[in-house]
C-alpha cells in the first residue's frame, strides 16, 4: 500500500518537477522582465510543490532516501510525468499553450485532491491550489492575448495548440497506481472531470478566437515511463551535478 502511494505521488509530482525544470530554462530570456518574473514564479511554485510531495514520498519509503534522490537519481524510465510537460520551449506560444493545457488540468486535480483521505496529500493540495489558480489565470490570460492579439500571434499560438493537443488525452489515463489510490480514497479519479476539462479549455480557446483541434490521435507513454526524445536531454541537464559528484552534500 505504501509503495503504491509513493508511486501515486510520483505520478502527480513528476509533472510539476519536469514543467518546473522547463520553465526554469527560460529565466532571463523572456519577452519582457515582467513575464520573466511571472514564469520564474510559476517554476518556483512548482518546485515548492515537488519538495512537499517528494519529502513525503521519502518519508514513506523504506529506503534511506531524500527528496533529492527521488528528483535526481532515477532513470528516465522511472519518471512518470505526462509527455505534455516535457515538450520543449519552442517559442512563447508553445510555452504558454503547454502551461495552459496543464494548468487547466492541474487545477481540477488539486480541487479534488483536497478531499483525499490522506491528510498530507490533502494538505499539499490545499496549499498548492492557491498557487495554481494564479497559474491558471496567467496562462488563460496569455492565451487570449496571443489568440486575439495580432495575426502573427494568432497563427503562432494556434500552431502550438495544434501541436500540443495530441498530448492532452494522456492526462486522463489511469495507471495501476492511480486505480489503487482511487480505490483507497487517497487518489483522484481524473476521468470524472475529463469532460469538464475539455469544455473549459474549449471555452477559453473560443474566447481567444482560436480553433479547437478536432484531431483524434493522441500520444501516450509518459505515465508508463516511455518518454519523448526530449526527456533524455532534460534529465542529463537536471541530473548533471548529482551524477558527476555522487553522494555529496550541496
Amino acid at each position: 500500500m505504501k509503495d503504491n502511494l509513493i508511486q501515486y505521488i510520483l505520478g502527480i509530482a513528476d509533472n510539476s518537477l519536469i514543467l518546473g525544470q522547463r520553465l526554469g530554462e527560460l529565466t532571463g530570456h523572456g519577452p519582457a522582465p515582467e513575464i520573466d518574473i511571472a514564469i520564474t514564479n510559476i517554476s518556483l511554485d512548482l518546485f515548492g510543490q515537488v519538495r512537499s510531495y517528494f519529502q513525503y514520498a521519502a518519508q514513506l519509503s523504506d529506503k534511506d532516501i531524500t527528496e533529492d534522490d527521488i528528483a535526481f537519481l532515477r532513470t528516465e524510465r522511472e519518471y512518470v510525468n505526462v509527455l505534455l510537460v516535457e515538450q520543449p520551449n519552442t517559442d512563447f506560444g508553445y510555452v504558454i499553450t503547454r502551461q495552459f493545457l496543464f494548468d487547466q488540468f492541474h487545477y481540477l486535480l488539486l480541487s479534488a485532491l483536497q478531499q483525499s483521505t490522506d491528510a498530507t496529500m490533502a494538505a499539499i493540495a490545499k496549499k498548492s491550489i492557491k498557487e495554481v489558480s494564479y497559474h491558471k489565470r496567467f496562462s488563460a490570460d496569455w492565451m487570449k492575448r496571443l489568440g486575439d492579439g495580432t495575426k502573427e500571434s494568432n497563427q503562432r499560438v494556434q500552431q502550438a495548440v495544434n501541436d500540443l493537443w495530441g498530448y492532452t488525452n494522456e492526462l486522463f489515463m489511469l495507471t495501476d497506481a492511480d486505480k489503487q489510490a482511487i480505490a483507497e480514497g487517497i487518489g483522484v479519479d481524473v476521468t470524472l472531470f475529463k469532460k469538464e476539462y475539455y469544455e473549459n479549455v474549449a471555452a477559453i480557446l473560443e474566447e481567444a478566437t482560436l480553433e479547437v483541434p478536432t484531431q483524434a490521435f493522441f500520444q501516450k507513454g509518459g505515465k508508463e515511463g516511455v518518454h519523448t526524445e526530449h526527456m533524455g536531454y532534460l534529465l542529463a541537464d537536471m541530473q548533471y551535478m548529482q551524477r558527476t559528484y555522487p553522494g555529496m552534500k550541496w
Binding site: 525544470q21 530570456h29 522582465p33 520564474t40 518556483l44 518546485f47 515537488v50 486575439d148 492579439g149 550541496w250
Partner: protein, 318 residues
C-alpha cells in the same frame, strides 16, 4: 528662463542637496544631474538584467531542489531590481524602450563582472559571496543618495542583496566542508572571481573621471579605492573561515594602516572587458538582443489585445 533665474534655481538645488533633502522627479534639476542619473541608474538596471544570465546558466543544473529554488528566487529578485531601477530611471523622462535600445546597441554599459563565465556550481557561491558582497559595498551608500526614486529603490535592493550574499557564502561554506573535489571547486571559483570582484569598484581614484561630481551629488560617498579596501578587509577573514586562500601573493596585513595591503590589479584586463572584449561580452549582449527580438511578437500581441479590449469596453458603454 534668464541666466539669473537659472542661477537662482541652481542655488536652491545645491542647498537642498547640502541639507540632505531628496530631489524628486518633478523638481528642477540641472541637465547634467539628470543625464548623469539616467546614465548611472540605467547602467545599474542593465547590470541586474544582464546579471541574470551567468547565474541563470546554473538553474537547470542546480545540484539539489533546495539550491534550485534558492537560485530561481535569486535570479527572479534580480529581474525585480532591474524593473524598479528602470521605473526609477523613467521618472527622469526617458522611456524603457530607449534604455533597452541603448543596452542593445552597446551604447550603455553594464557591470563588467557579468562578462565572465560561470563554469562550475561553485561559481554560483562565489558570485553570491564576492560579487554581491562587492555590490552591497558599492550600493549601501546609494540608499542615502540625493535622487529620491533611486535612493528608495536602493533600500529594497540592498536588503535583498544582503540575503543573496549570505546565501552565496553558505554555498561556499558547504563546499569547503565537503569532499576534496568540492573544496577544489570552491578554491578554483575564488581564484577566478577574486580579481574581477576587486575590479568592480572601478579604476583607481587618480584615474576615475566621475568621482568629484558624484561625491557632490551624493551619488558617491566614498572613493573607489576606499570602497575596494573596505571589501578586501571584510572578505579576507571570511575566506579564512572557509579555509580558502586568496589568490594574491602580496596580500598582507598592515598593522600600521589596520588594513590589508594587496597586489596590483591587472588594469589591462579591466579595460579590455570594459571595452567589450571580455570572455562573454558578445554572448551576453547577443542573448539580451535575442530575448528582446524573439519577444517582439508577444509584446505586439499584448498591445493589440489591450487596444481591442479598450475598444470593446467603449462600444459596450455606448
Amino acid at each position: 528662463m534668464s541666466e539669473k533665474e537659472i542661477k537662482n534655481l541652481e542655488e536652491i538645488f545645491d542647498q537642498k542637496i547640502a541639507r540632505d533633502e531628496k530631489i524628486e522627479p518633478k523638481d528642477w534639476m540641472p541637465e547634467k544631474y539628470r543625464q548623469t542619473h539616467i546614465r548611472q541608474m540605467s547602467q545599474h538596471a542593465h547590470s541586474e538584467i544582464v546579471g541574470m544570465l551567468p547565474e541563470g546558466n546554473w538553474i537547470s543544473r542546480a545540484p539539489s531542489l533546495r539550491r534550485k529554488v534558492a537560485l530561481l528566487a535569486k535570479v527572479q529578485d534580480e529581474a525585480g531590481h532591474g524593473l524598479y531601477l528602470y521605473s526609477a530611471t523613467e521618472t527622469l523622462g526617458v522611456s524603457r524602450e530607449e534604455l533597452y535600445e541603448q543596452l542593445h546597441s552597446g551604447k550603455a554599459k553594464y557591470s563588467s563582472i557579468f562578462n565572465y563565465p560561470t563554469v562550475t556550481w561553485a561559481d554560483i557561491g562565489a558570485i553570491g559571496w564576492l560579487v554581491d558582497g562587492a555590490a552591497i559595498i558599492n550600493q549601501v551608500p546609494l540608499c542615502n543618495t540625493s535622487f529620491g526614486p533611486y535612493a528608495r529603490a536602493m533600500v529594497r535592493v540592498c536588503k535583498e542583496e544582503s540575503f543573496h550574499q549570505r546565501q552565496g557564502y553558505e554555498i561556499m561554506l558547504t563546499l569547503s566542508k565537503g569532499t576534496k573535489a568540492q573544496k577544489e571547486m570552491a578554491q578554483d571559483a575564488l581564484n577566478r572571481w577574486w580579481w574581477p570582484s576587486l575590479m568592480m569598484f572601478g579604476p583607481t581614484d587618480d584615474k576615475s573621471t566621475h568621482t568629484a561630481q558624484s561625491m557632490k551629488w551624493k551619488l558617491k560617498r566614498k572613493t573607489n579605492d576606499e570602497l575596494r579596501q573596505q571589501f578586501i578587509d571584510q572578505t579576507v577573514p571570511q575566506a579564512e573561515i572557509l579555509g580558502l586562500s586568496i589568490p594574491d601573493k602580496d596580500l598582507k596585513w598592515n598593522e600600521e594602516r589596520k588594513s590589508y595591503d594587496f597586489g596590483e590589479i591587472n588594469w589591462d584586463e579591466f579595460w579590455q572587458v570594459v571595452k567589450g572584449h571580455g570572455p562573454c561580452n558578445r554572448e551576453r549582449l547577443q542573448t539580451r538582443v535575442n530575448a528582446w527580438e524573439n519577444g517582439a511578437w508577444v509584446r505586439d500581441a499584448a498591445m493589440a489585445y489591450a487596444e481591442k479590449n479598450a475598444e470593446r469596453k467603449i462600444k459596450k458603454a455606448v
